[in-house]
Amino acid sequence: MSDRLSVLKTYKLYVGGKFPRSESGRVYEVTDCKGTWLANAPLASRKDARDAVVAARKAFGGWSGATAYNRGQILYRIAEMLEGRREQFIAEVADAEGLSKAKATAQVDAAIDRWVWYAGWSDKVAQITGGANPVAGPYFNLSSPEPTGVVAVLAPQDSSFLGLVSVIAPAVVTGNTVVVVTSEKSPLPALSLAEVLATSDLPGGVVNILSGRTAEIAAPLAAHQDVNALDLAGADAGLAKELETAAADNLKRVLRPEPADWSADPGTGRLLSFLETKTVWHPMGV
């Protein structure tokens, strides 16, 4: 038997590139599927949500203004860092979702591949959503996609890592900044992902991660006047309706929850959900 003291990990929130505890000082117990205690996770309050939105807004200018190539490089770097910590994530996903090691490995590998896949989209998305429009007049008419802004994302409840990656990556690759509310029951893989993001050249505030009661954190985010879009992937039908009503006040773009198979080909649906089209009419020379 080892005589080392056990070194337990303190899971914390990820806001503005830093790892704060919840402003409220609260934590909640996270257990595996059999009810065995795994760790304490921070129980974020509405003020943490507010701080996260401020951080996301502050990061938006720099991130959306970075070149698509640069964003792609950074997302690829995240995949590289994940690869190095693969074992840790496999263990966390297996605990969180009650999977065998083989199945958890498949989930983590799929998640890393998904980062790589979305990273490649950064400088290609403009080609499929924008372009030159034929118009009846002496103009060049060009449409190009622009990021929507600050996106509040409710991560899927059942898929703690692959599902999480599948909702974060498509939003940030196009230049949005996000505030993510993790799976309520199994937040640990998401909170560990924050450690990867913090060491991957991703500017602080581009991704902010909050754990806690989904309904409690989502309500102020949905009503927040400085949030531009809402991804309801992790909300049940009742909560989704409530949040969509609150989001209508400043005409947030809302992505409704749909049953999803996260291991299937994701397609471009999520990628294109948080884009606005800018069209420029440019007079042709004489």
Partner: protein, 331 residues
């Protein structure tokens, strides 16, 4: 305790005369200032930190926000100031939130002397004061006649309040009498031909004074010389208003009031950006000086971005939703 008279009133001069022995000559003034008790730095910081932990919520918070808005000296002191920008700021001062007319107006608009006439015209009839910085702001490095001409210009252009900077160089080398005489001279230059006078705020630039003891000394020095308000900073150096320095100045005002009965105002300036900070200062004022000072006549915030944060918090309280920078003006 002698009964209270305002620092800008006629009787204040008589009260100051009762302290004439300590300002009679350089030696007496030095002995007096150096005889002031030393500041317990750790105690001061702990006291300021404790007062910052009060939780002010709901109706009390709503009251504090409106009070803070009404105490703001909305400031623009940039080389790039244009008449248009000053007029826009004045319009914002009159109606800080155009969508909600229940928001109080600010206390004053603070500009450079050459913009006073523009601001005065834009604010006519609104009851908002025009404050002008003067005396070679922000460095204060000019000859006395230049500083006095600067002040007279601003007063002639219609400034209601003058924010002067002290000569920190003279103060730090111990030429207290020189600083004292300079403040007195500027106070005289604030007089208008009709016998009234612009109110005088004296800026210490506490970030350059190095020690708490110096802040206490300069506070007494300025109040003895007739300052109507004492102000922490110009907002142009690295360290601006901090809670401990402001608390120390509030305590100096309290002690001066206890000794002479003269009521002097306090204005922290620079670095106060959030509602939370502003409320901390209001708590300090209430705990140190009490209610008589909790009005725009005796306490001011020198700020520009603070107003937007107060407005966003006000919108949050009235609608229940967090507001964002899209819903306040870009200054």
């Amino acid at each position: 305790m002698p009964n209270t008279v305002p620092a800008y009133g006629k009787e204040a001069a008589g009260r100051l005369a009762s302290m004439a022995d300590v300002t009679a000559d350089d030696g007496a003034l030095r002995r007096f200032l150096h005889g002031l008790p030393g500041v317990d730095a750790v105690g001061l910081q702990a006291r300021a930190a404790t007062l910052g932990t009060r939780s002010i919520k709901t109706t009390a918070k709503a009251y504090a926000i409106d009070l803070a808005i009404s105490m703001i000296d909305l400031t623009t002191l940039e080389g790039a100031d244009t008449p248009g920008k000053v007029r826009a700021l004045c319009a914002k001062g009159v109606h800080p939130d155009p969508t909600d007319r229940t928001v109080p107006k600010v206390a004053a608009i603070c500009v450079y002397p050459d913009m006073v006439a523009t601001a005065k015209e834009a604010l006519s009839g609104s009851g908002i004061h025009v404050a002008s910085v003067a005396t070679a702001f922000p460095a204060g490095r000019a000859a006395l006649p230049v500083k006095l001409a600067d002040t007279r210009d601003a007063v002639a252009a219609g400034a209601d309040e003058i924010d002067m900077v002290i000569d920190r160089g003279a103060f730090l080398c111990g030429r207290y009498m020189e600083v004292f005489e300079e403040i007195k001279a500027v106070k005289e230059a604030c007089a208008r031909p009709d016998g009234s006078a612009a109110h005088l705020k004296v800026i210490f630039e506490t970030g350059e004074l190095e020690t708490y003891d110096n802040v206490r000394r300069v506070s007494w020095l300025a109040m003895l010389a007739g300052a109507d308000f004492i102000k922490t900073s110009t907002g142009k150096v690295a360290v601006n208003a901090t809670p401990p320095v402001t608390l120390l100045m509030l305590e100096a005002v309290r002690d001066f009031h206890a000794a002479t009965g003269v009521q002097v105002g306090v204005k922290p300036a620079g670095g106060i950006r959030t509602t939370k900070d502003a409320v901390k200062y209001l708590v300090m004022v209430n705990e140190t000086l009490g209610e008589p000072w909790l009005t725009a006549d005796w306490f001011r915030f020198g700020a520009s971005s603070l107003l937007n944060d107060l407005l966003m918090q006000r919108q949050k309280l009235s609608t229940g939703r967090y507001s964002g920078p899209d819903y306040v003006t870009v200054d």
